[in-house]
């Protein structure tokens, strides 16, 4: 009896599947999960520390990881300092965002996100905007940090302490420096998964 030939195409697909599994596990996902989407909301995409680091890491995430779809929303449509490798929308399109996690990057963008029906907003507080800002409406600040739909993520441990002392809230334990999209994605996707699991009927 002739020896059965090895199907090389099958081996290749198995290897690809393994690779995809490894990549997705870095974001806390498995192949059986639905395609995840994450929205990032920026005030503008012009030159700033936040945007430069944020877009760089978002582009890295888009290039190297499967299973997650990234969308950027921006309040001011001006030329980006780095060409994003994902879709970019105006802030008006935020109303079409449904139940996927949304990461806002300032008080202004959090207020805009709160005006939509998005159930969970992750306010990535890159700067302590409430300091030396007398123009800012204190109601906006309270909303952006204390609204029950908002979870605050800090850039530095000292910022986390400051926010907790100022608003009496509990900031996310994970500190995310330099708007690292990979860490932010893993954090929000894991939380969303856990939340869905706990809400699922037994």
């Amino acid at each position: 009896m002739a020896k059965k030939k090895k199907n090389t195409k099958h081996t290749e697909s198995v290897n690809r599947k393994k690779l995809a599994e490894v990549e997705m596990s870095k974001l806390g996902l498995t192949l059986s999960d639905d395609l995840a989407a994450i929205g990032f909301v920026f005030t503008h995409l012009s030159v700033s520390h936040l945007v430069y680091c944020g877009l760089n890491s978002i582009n890295h995430l888009c290039k190297n990881h499967t299973g997650v779809d990234i969308c950027i929303f921006t309040q001011h449509i001006i030329a980006p300092c780095i060409t994003p490798l994902c879709s970019v929308f105006g802030i008006a399109d935020l109303t079409r965002w449904k139940s996927d996690p949304l990461i806002t990057t300032s008080v202004e963008t959090t207020i805009d996100a709160l005006a939509t029906n998005v159930p969970r907003i992750y306010h990535y507080a890159f700067d302590p905007e409430f300091i030396d800002n007398n123009d800012r409406n204190s109601h906006d600040l309270q909303e952006a940090f204390c609204n029950p739909r908002v979870k605050v993520i800090a850039r530095h441990a000292s910022h986390a302490e400051l926010i907790e002392a100022e608003f009496g809230i509990s900031v996310c334990d994970t500190i995310v420096p330099d708007c690292d999209a990979m860490v932010l994605a893993k954090l929000v996707l894991t939380e969303m998964k856990d939340e869905r699991k706990s809400n699922a009927p037994d």
Binding site: H44, V47, S48, H49, L50, P128, I131, H156, S158, H159
Partner: protein, 254 residues
């Protein structure tokens, strides 16, 4: 701590006898000491230069019939090479530009330090790590602690760099570090005509060439003192910087 960077710290002194030793110790000590320090004395009359000569062991020299301290001297302080020089009174920016020109070959990072301030032990180490992590970073600024006369230490929180925010106001101070290649791109250093806010002018120019990276940790210490300059003069200087930036940018993005 080993790395391939060569860090030179430039300090311009003017009647800073009481604080310069603390400033110098902070940059030659710490986790990652500076590779060289250049101190330019801006015609102090409180004995700052004499104090620096004593600190480094410079002896009097005789030139013709004149005997006195050398106009410049290369010494060592706690194992780090220190270069000092004195010059006629001019602006701080002129002194710092001269200090930068007196550097050794192969300097990759310039750091600047006010003689009344001092670096935290990990400031240079953190800056080196940041410069090495991302090639597009041109300058590293940080938060700081303010030390008041009554002994109170106040943590100062600053915002990260944003081109629009920087155009509206200057948040940082002179205690920052710059990649030396940035000066080559700028083809200039500090604006020597400016007596105030020359640091704002430089950071504004640097921000047009690379990223100004803000570290949200107190990496240096400032002493709080009464500012001799009138607030109106500072406002005028800042307005001048903004006008220059707008002219350079030719209306693009402000």
């Amino acid at each position: 701590m080993k790395d391939k960077e060569k860090v030179t710290i430039c300090i311009a002194t003017r009647n800073s006898k009481s604080t310069i030793a603390r400033a110098l110790k902070s940059v030659v000590g710490g986790i990652r000491p500076a590779d060289q320090v250049v101190i330019g004395d801006n015609d102090s009359d409180d004995g700052t230069y004499e104090f620096l000569c004593e600190l480094l062991g410079a002896e009097e020299v005789t030139i013709g019939e004149n005997k006195g301290l050398p106009p410049n001297f290369d010494g060592e302080f706690l194992g780090t090479p220190v270069k000092i020089f004195r010059k006629r009174l001019s602006t701080t920016s002129h002194t710092l530009n001269m200090a930068m020109q007196m550097k050794w070959e192969g300097v990759t990072i310039f750091g600047f330090l006010e003689p009344t301030s001092w670096y935290a032990g990990d400031k240079i180490a953190q800056a080196v790590r940041i410069f090495q992590s991302k090639p597009y970073i041109a300058c590293v600024v940080s938060d700081w602690d303010n030390h008041h006369e009554n002994g109170v230490v106040e943590r100062v929180f600053k915002h990260s760099f944003d081109c629009n925010r920087l155009l509206a106001r200057f948040e940082y101070d002179r205690n920052f570090l710059v990649r030396s290649g940035t000066f080559g791109q700028l083809k200039c250093g500090f604006n020597e005509q400016m007596t105030l806010r020359d640091d704002y002018d430089l950071i504004m120019k640097i921000s047009e060439k690379g990223l100004v990276y803000h570290v949200p940790a107190p990496l240096h210490n400032n002493t709080v003192a009464e500012n001799d300059s009138e607030q109106s003069e500072i406002v005028l200087a800042e307005e001048f910087v903004r006008q220059c930036a707008k002219e350079r940018r030719g209306g693009v993005n402000g």
